[in-house]
Structures are given as C-alpha cells and as structure tokens.
C-alpha cells in the first residue's frame, strides 16, 4: 500500500532505478505533477517579484560567488580557524571522513547522554548519511520537527525537494496521514488546522527531549559561530531548549567572516522561498552560560567533498547554499518532481552533486537528466555553472563506457561513434545524407512526414512526427545557386 500518493521510492543512489525509468512513474502520476507544479509556481512567482525589486541582485550574486570560491580555495585554514574559535567558546568539534564515521560519532555522543530520544531540525546532510534509520536501529527514537519532515516521517514518505521536502503531498493527503498517525479522526484539510495539529503534537517533545540534532547553513570561521536559517521556529526550539545539541555540517559550509552573511542572507531567502528574509535566523557560538544547550558538538562531514574540491570544473558544486532555486526553475524537475532523481538531492544540483558523492559509480544517468537549458545557472545565487559540470560529468560517463564491452550493444554509443566518422569529411557526410534519404524513404508517408521509426528512432516518434528528408540538401542547392550567380 502506498500512502500520500507517493510511490515507493528509493533515495539511495546505489539502489535507485535509472532516471528515465524512475521519471516515468512520476510522469504517470497526475496528482504528484499537479502538486509539484502548483508549489513551484507559487515560489517562482514570489521569487521573481523580489529579484526584480533588488536592483543589486547581480552584484550580490557576484559577491556571493567570489566569497564561496575564496572560502573553498582556502578551506583548510578556515576550517581550522572555525574549529579553534568554536572550541574556545566551549564547543566540541569532531571530524568525520565519511558517512559511517559521522553516524558512529553521533551515536556515541547520544550514548554518552543516555539519550533514547532525539529531536531534529531538517538537515539535508543527515539525510545524505541516512542517519535516521541508523539511529532508529540503534534504539534511539528520532523525531523530525519541521512540518514537512513530520508529514514525511509519519507518512513514511521520502523528501522530494531540499527546501519544501513534502511539496509533492497535498492537503488532503496530509490530513489522511495526520488523522491516521495522530489519531485525530475529525481533522479537516485546512492547512491551518493541520499546522496546529503538528504544533500540538510536537510541543511536549520540544519541552522534554534533552538532545537535539541540527544541520547548519553557515559556519563563520573568524568567530566559530554557527547559523541556521528557518521559518517555523522548530529550529529555534531544537537549538535552545535541549541540554545537548549536535550539529552535523558539511565541510564546505564555512564562510570566512561574519560580514559575509550580509551577502548570503540577502540571497538565500529570496532564492529559496521568495521572502526578503526568512522568519528566523539563529546564530550561536559554542556554549553560552545560562542560554541554550550547555553541551554543543559540531560534526564536520567530508564524505566525498574533498574529492570534489580537488577537481577544477567540479569544485563549484561545493559553492551551493542549498536554496533550491535551480530545482524550482528546472523544466525537468517541474515535470518529474524530486523522487525521480533517486537521491536526497534532486533537481539540477542533485544531478551534479549525487554522482560525484557516489564517485561516479552510481547515478550515472543523472548528468543526462537535463536538457541543458541553462535556467539553473541563470538563477543560482552563487553562480554555479551547472550545465558546465553536467557536461564534464557526461564526459566522464562516456569515458567509463569506452572501457566497457557492452558499449557495442548500446545504439546511442555506436550511433555517436559512427556520426563522428561521418562528420570527419564532407564526402562521408554527403554519402550519409544520401543513404539516409534512401533508408528513410521506406518510413516516410505520402504527406512527406515520418510517423514511426524503429529502434532508437521510436523514442522520437512515440510522441513526435519527423519531417522526411527533402529531395535536395542545402549544399546541393547552393551548387546550382552559385552557378546561376556566375
């Protein structure tokens, strides 16, 4: 049985089906497409108005891009500076080389606290390392506190967006989940009432669970400060009420100075939710006596990031501030939603980040999940040239294919290799044109159009006609035209 209109999906790139296959399931789900389309239209409209109003938008993008490039270029120094300042302020900094290590560090910290329960504010990084199932299996009850994450946790669904993870679920589906799992039979599908149900459900958890896990939007090197940007206040609850706070943060999240936030915060909310500023931004530095958790741990996660850092074209992937503007504008994401990407990071940024985190061993269809229209690059607040990285990764996928015996059975591969020979000489090109004209004559109707082709061509003609080849190519016409001129 599937709940909430979402099919059973895997967001583990090692097991997820190839993108075209996963996308097909989503394309055939009208409810999902309606939900996704509606949510994206709302965000896009709001974002568009705010970007027009911001007369220095391009200057902010340039500054943000430069700050992120500089921070990555000098990542080692800035991380050490952060570590020193955070430690001096009473925080504990841990380093995790990979996902398994990060999970273990967090579990060990929870064991030290004898924690059987933990509250969480939405963190993509914890989803990346699949922290929740690991903690549950180790006997720790995990309570997500972001409204969308509660919907997904209670409905046993998977996130399909990095900012609004449950945008594929509509109000009546939320009502069904809450009514069933919270035992509220008379719940209506009014979003206000549903939100209230979540407030009531979580209030006691906030007040009693002594341990919390968060991510972070930014680390400030010069002061050892951590920042979390949110809307609902669940973040502030998790960051201030518990005795112990553990923040899991990717190593790329560091900014050199506090002042850099003046750039990032102007871009982030406008790009992410179409607001001038998100309702709550929290900053804290280590431990403050009498205010907030008295034990604070930061777990710095590498998990493949330093590998990406080493590569010239791919490094820009790490500039990402997780605003999701790229997926909101992406015409592919608009049709498929997030689950088709088989990763907790969907959309254009997911299409470049996921295969790299997987060392190009999995998710090889993701770099091809784009028409290269460039809309993502246009909106990216930190100017990640996503199409450029997509092309780089495609080239790596092809280079893998070149070593595989199976390539001789791949029509696309063979076709492009042959096409290369054809285009190498005018003679070859013209000969291929003549052969094509003869070959396609069989498929061409009386009206001069092709309605059906075999094999790979069928991929085109399943929804589109193709005009048959004309009797004369342009270069043949030119030859006669040039003679007439003389």
């Amino acid at each position: 049985m599937t709940h909430a209109g979402s099919e059973r999906v895997s967001l583990d790139p090692r097991f997820a089906p190839p993108f075209p296959e996963a996308a097909l399931i989503m394309l055939r789900n009208p409810q999902l497409r309606k939900n996704v389309g509606h949510a994206i239209d709302v965000i896009q409209t709001k974002r568009g108005k705010l970007v027009v109003e911001k007369t220095d938008w391009q200057e902010l993008r340039s500054a943000a891009s430069a700050i992120r490039v500089h921070a990555l270029e000098n990542l080692g120094v800035y991380l050490e500076e952060f570590e020193a300042r955070c430690t001096a302020a009473g925080g504990h900094v841990h380093w995790a080389a990979d996902a398994a290590e990060a999970r273990q560090i967090i579990l060990d910290l929870l064991r030290e606290e004898n924690a059987s329960e933990v509250i969480k504010i939405k963190t993509m990084t914890s989803a990346e390392i699949q922290l929740n199932p690991f903690l549950q299996a180790a006997g720790v009850n995990v309570y997500e506190t972001d409204l969308a994450e509660i919907i997904l946790q209670l409905g046993e669904g998977e996130p399909s967006h990095i900012v609004v993870p449950a945008l594929h679920i509509n109000r009546s589906q939320v009502r069904e989940i809450f009514a069933r799992t919270m035992g509220l039979k008379n719940l209506s599908d009014d979003p206000k009432e549903l939100t209230n149900a979540a407030r009531t459900y979580l209030r006691q958890k906030f007040l009693t669970v002594p341990t919390a896990i968060s991510g972070a939007n930014f680390l400030i090197a010069e002061s050892g400060t951590v920042s979390v940007v949110e809307s609902e206040g669940n973040g502030r609850m998790c960051l201030t009420l518990p005795r112990t706070l553990i923040s899991l943060v990717g190593i790329e999240k560091v900014l050199p100075r506090f002042q850099d936030l003046e750039v990032m915060l102007q871009l982030l909310a406008r790009s992410a939710t179409g607001e001038r500023m998100n309702p709550y931004t929290s900053l804290w530095t280590g431990v403050s006596p009498g205010d907030g958790p008295q034990k604070f741990h930061v777990v710095l996660l590498d998990n493949g990031r330093s590998r990406i850092l080493a590569k010239t074209k791919e490094r820009q992937t790490l500039k990402c501030i997780r605003c999701a503007a790229c997926m909101n504008t992406c015409p592919v994401y608009r049709q498929t939603g997030g689950h088709a990407y088989g990763s907790v990071y969907p959309g254009p940024i997911g299409a470049i980040l996921t295969p790299q985190l997987m060392q190009m061993k999995y998710a090889q269809t993701l770099p091809y999940a784009s028409s290269l229209c460039g809309a993502c690059y246009e909106v990216c607040p930190v100017k990640i040239n996503i199409p450029e990285v997509l092309l780089e990764l495609r080239s790596q996928v092809v280079n893998q294919e070149r070593k595989q015996a199976g390539r001789f059975f791949d029509l696309m591969y063979l076709g492009l290799r042959i096409a290369n020979l054809i285009f190498a000489t005018a003679w070859g090109f013209h000969a291929a044109q003549r052969m094509g004209r003869i070959g396609l004559r069989f498929f061409t109707s009386k009206d001069g159009w092709i309605h059906s082709l075999p094999s790979l061509g069928a991929k085109w003609t399943q929804t589109r006609d193709l005009r048959g080849l004309p009797k004369q190519t342009f270069h043949q016409w030119w030859a006669t035209h040039a003679k007439e001129e003389k």
Binding site: N35, H38, E80, I105, T225, R257, Y280, L300, R307
Partner: protein
Amino acid sequence: MNQPVESRQLTLDRIRAATPSAAQDASLLADAYAALPRAYIRRGDLSAQARIELMIHRLREYDAEVVECTPEELADALATQLAASGRHRFVAPSGAPPEWLVTSAYKIKGLEWTIDHGLDIDEIEKAEGVVTAATCGIADSGTIVLHHSATEGRRVLTLLPDWYLCILRASQIVETLPEYFSRCQQPPVLATYISGPSATADIEMTRIKGVHGPRILVVILVRDDPEYINLIHRPDVNVANISKYLDLDLDLRFTASVKPKL
C-alpha cells in the same frame, strides 16, 4: 569504531592536497579576502523618515501590530498593549527597566510580571506573553535583530510565549542588511533575526502564521528620532496627523511589490 584524531588529519590532508592554490600565509589570505568584489548596495538612500516608514510597512506586511510613541509615552503605550492583549502572565528579561513594569502593573488589574533570572522552561512556557528590547531593525526586510543582551533576554524567552511585544527605537532602524553588519563592532556571540511571526508554507505553499514560535508579534516603535520629537510637541500635531508633517519620500521600488496574499 571512530578514530577522531586520524579523521581530522585525514580530512585536512585531503583538503590541503585538493587546494594547492590556497593562500600561503595569513597576510596573503587577508589580501585575497580584501580583494573580493563587493559592488552591491551597502547603504540605502531613503530619508530617515522614509526608512522608519518602510520598517513599519514591512512589519505590517508580516501582520505584526505596530504602534508608535515618544520616549516619554513608552510606559503608557506598553501598558495599553498589555491590557489590549487580554493576557495577564508576562515574562520580562533580567535587564528589563523598571518603567516597563511599574506603570503596567499599577494600571492593569491582575497583571503578573515574572523576571527571567534563570527561569525553568516550564515557567516560561506558562507565561502568556513576553516583552523585550531589540538591537536593531532592518527596514528593507522588516527584520528585528536580537543580540540577547540583558534587555533582550535569553533566546528561549522570545520563543515559547505565544505573544511577543518588542520595543524598538527609531534610532535602531537601518535601511539595509549591510548597514546592520557595519554597526556590529564584532560578531555577536548569540543572535536571532526575526522577520515576521513564525510561519510555514509546507502544505501546498499556503502560508500559515505561527507554527512553533510566538503567533502574535507587537512592535512598539519608540520615536526617538529628533524630527518626530520636535513635531509631536507642536500644538497642531498629533499621532493621527503627524505623517503629513514628516518629510516622507518612500521609494516606490519598495512599495511596488507588496507580498501577494496566499
């Protein structure tokens, strides 16, 4: 088993190997940082009055209640708002000035103040409202900045009570976010930036106010700006008509895109 020391070294080694063009010393790093392009708008160009007006406009867009008063009227204005809230149990930060508390306690029957000298979470949770000062107001985004000083209170204080009254002074209002950062001599140890009441749009992008934080935000704007004070003391000027005496040149680019009602 986790080996924290080794992982630290391993990760830093990987990072160093991945970034051969990193600055070689602290002074080169500082130079590289100083050379970063910052061509964005740092300082706004609105007049003082327009800046204050924009802050009020933004706060009201967020459905916050905004009332204005002169510095002398603050105690009365506060008492009026507390009475209007229909609530009785309030908390205040440890550094709350006595004038906030005395007038209201005298005027309102049954009003109960609890000062936060390390209150338990349960005690704060029982409060129906909270009153604090602020560090800064950012007009461009309608943001209230708290650095959690003694008059602004611990973070939890402005989080649990459902009704939050913030006392903001006109002199604390800047136009742009970079202006706030310029005002900070050093990074705050703790800070919270509040832009409207807590909200979610997680269900069909329908904006719902008040998820976990305070659902009601009231701002008393203390007009300590000289222009206002000079005007309000003239016999022909009062709160109702003062705006036409103030030199307002509210930039249309800000008012053109009022947030759509969702």
